[in-house]
Symmetry: C2
């Protein structure tokens, strides 16, 4: 079996931890598996490099920033290979270019275009374990980096190119939970989650697995496992949803939530003005990320458009919309802060039309007002007051997860930190 | 004019210093020159990487050590290129492989075999200043490093390959001195020194310029300049000796010295035993460096062989020689520690046969006993007691340098730290 193992920054954050990672790799090899390892930079070493750059330029050159940051993973890869060699396990560190990871030439946020696997396969056939630097590649001879969550992306891309049997993401939590265990102590670890559910749960699990890596894993059908590098616990498998998986009748997989939400409402936009296109193009061109969008018809010839943004962006977003007033001829702009978003996520919802209603009943019974609603095939999101989000999450977890718990207990009992 | 500028670890030791280096490069470009820059790792960053490696292995894998250490220069090169870009000066950092620096595959101490200059020349023709990582190259796709003084070697190799008009070595001293200014306050900076003299003065100037770089510079006739990155002072030019240079009648260029010298004498080695070959082969195979070697005939069929080693090696060297006693049939082995070596160096000596005698007279007048003598065409070395070495250096400096000072004053007045 060929396994790609990715170790995040915390997992290689010190020489003590690098020793533990080396031992885990040895145990994997001892089972007769082949292993390709992907590492992030040690702990906060990337931040230290960014600080140095900031001392030299308020807007550091993107090419040079990539060359600079790429050294972080080179250090951890070399140290890990060195430790394995010390233990008698043949290993070689490989930078992005040595591993043949080609990307577009976009500095700071490049996409992997191809991986030349000949050299990696040659090492594996010689019994040498490649330790590949995550987060980086090469484009026309220039070092590029893959942006946030880049090492997850590297691992998934390598697993896809090598047609690996599994891609294990080692991190500092032991899997994906039904909700944040810091908010709901009954939260339990999921044994399985589908790629789509994982994407919807991403704002719970951003530290666990980057959405871009999940998208790539889904696209290339790479079987992912998220598990802790500090324990032997089984983690959470991220897989394509199957009929079998549906049979476990777990309608709602998890409760996601997000704080610092603000709502902006543009009232009375004449229908003829195509307000949606104008407003959201303008916001996008200014780099304002919009999440939930709701349009409701209030009268025959006009609509109200509401949307949410991250709270720190609210003033900029309002200013942008104000600037469109003469073009659009709307009646008013309103904004509201101190909101939050709570979502129930589950592939099983597709075949359970009553789930949204059950969510609204739960929130009503808890006396929590819903300001906005948005739905997708596997998710229902409600915008509520920030002060009520934890109560909402607890109530929804009780209704959808704990009530189902007897039916399908997974690896419960262990908690994230 | 094409200039290669090399900045050592102290010169790029902080972001403040990197700013100063960027400004100096701009001033060079403003004169209409083209510039290829070579940098060392920042300050003591290499030591920090070595410490990490040592925590993982008492004898770190050589390939991985090279990959690890190479990151140090990548960081400083990227930061410097970033700073130049910030100031509006186009620049690109290049690692060993990006700059096309091929070496033998010997990890930790590789020799440069070739430099593919096409890419460097293309950057220069586009008005982009290449910032090349010193100390490193590539061999068969593996990162290699060039060993001690490697960045000097990189700079000289690049200057040779690019047929540069000058190779400037920026460091924390402002040139090469007639002797160590900490010992003789009248020491003065040399305007010129020949490659051979520089090599003989190397133990004075090891921090200034690595002997290997000087050898390469001599071989490829690369004109070197050693100067300070902290001042605008003219430095010292290291050049091939010319008839003109001889005309300045400076017979002795500088007074070199070395502490921690030990002497070993092997007494009564039968001539038939070829003692020299046996003794020094055996010492070399054990990695003991031998400096001065003197053989004297004491009787018709036997010789005394004396040699010096670094004081910390003396016990090992004596043990090795003791082990050869039955093979060689010598009479006795003696050793003496607390010695030092003082040398007068100067290309002018070749045509001045009385110089050695003048040295002995100077030492006799100062009442300093000479334990061993060794000569080369441009150097005379005497082994003296360690307690007398400073007096010896002062006396010799007074005789050979200060007495000549009126005739050829160079950039005197400035001191190393």
């Amino acid at each position: 079996m060929l396994v790609v193992q990715k170790y995040g920054g915390t997992s290689v954050g010190s020489t003590e931890r690098i020793r533990l990672v080396a031992e885990r790799i040895q145990r994997t090899l001892a089972l007769g598996h082949q292993c390709v390892v992907v590492v992030s930079a040690m702990g906060h070493s990337t931040d230290a490099l960014v600080d140095l750059a900031k001392e030299l330029s308020d807007q550091p050159d993107a090419r040079e920033m990539d060359s600079l940051l790429a050294t972080g993973e080179q250090v951890s890869a070399s140290l890990l290979a060195m430790r394995l060699a010390h233990l008698g396990t043949p290993a070689q560190s490989l930078t992005g270019w040595q591993a043949g990871i080609e990307t577009e030439r976009v500095h700071g946020n490049a996409r992997v275009t191809s991986i030349a696997t000949t050299h990696l396969k040659s090492l594996l056939s010689q019994g040498i374990t490649p330790i590949v630097t995550g987060f980086q590649g090469i484009a026309e001879g220039h070092v590029t980096t893959l942006g946030r969550g880049g090492s997850d992306t590297s691992a998934v891309a390598l697993a896809a190119a090598l047609e690996a049997d599994a891609c294990e993401i080692y991190t500092d939590v032991d899997g994906v939970y039904t909700t944040d265990p810091r908010v709901v102590k009954q939260a339990r670890k999921l044994a399985h989650v589908s790629y789509d559910e994982m994407l919807e749960l991403a704002n719970l699990g951003a530290q666990v697995l980057h959405p871009r890596a999940v998208e790539n894993a889904k696209h290339f059908s790479v079987p992912l496992v998220v598990r802790s590098s500090f324990s032997e616990e089984e983690g959470t498998s991220v897989v394509a949803i199957t009929e079998n998986a549906l049979e476990d009748r777990q309608v709602v997989t998890g409760i996601a939530f997000e704080r610092q939400v603000a709502r902006i409402a543009v009232i009375g936009v004449p229908l003829a003005q195509h307000g949606l296109a104008t407003i959201f193009s303008e916001l996008a061109s200014h780099g304002v990320n919009v999440d939930v969008i709701v349009q409701s018809v209030v009268e025959v010839a006009a609509v109200d458009v509401s949307f949410t943004v991250n709270e720190p962006d609210v003033k900029q977003a309002v200013d942008i919309v104000e600037g469109l007033r003469s073009d659009l001829g709307y009646t008013a702009v309103e904004s509201q802060t101190d909101l939050a978003k709570v979502s129930i996520v589950g592939a099983g919802m597709i075949s359970n039309p009553g789930v949204a209603a059950q969510m609204f009943v739960t929130l009503r019974d808890a006396n929590i007002a819903v300001h906005m609603v948005s739905t997708s095939e596997i998710k229902v999101s409600c915008v509520v007051s920030a002060s009520e989000v934890e109560r909402a999450v607890k109530a929804l977890h009780a209704t959808f997860v704990e009530a189902d718990a007897e039916a399908s207990l997974t690896g419960a009992g262990s908690k994230t930190k």
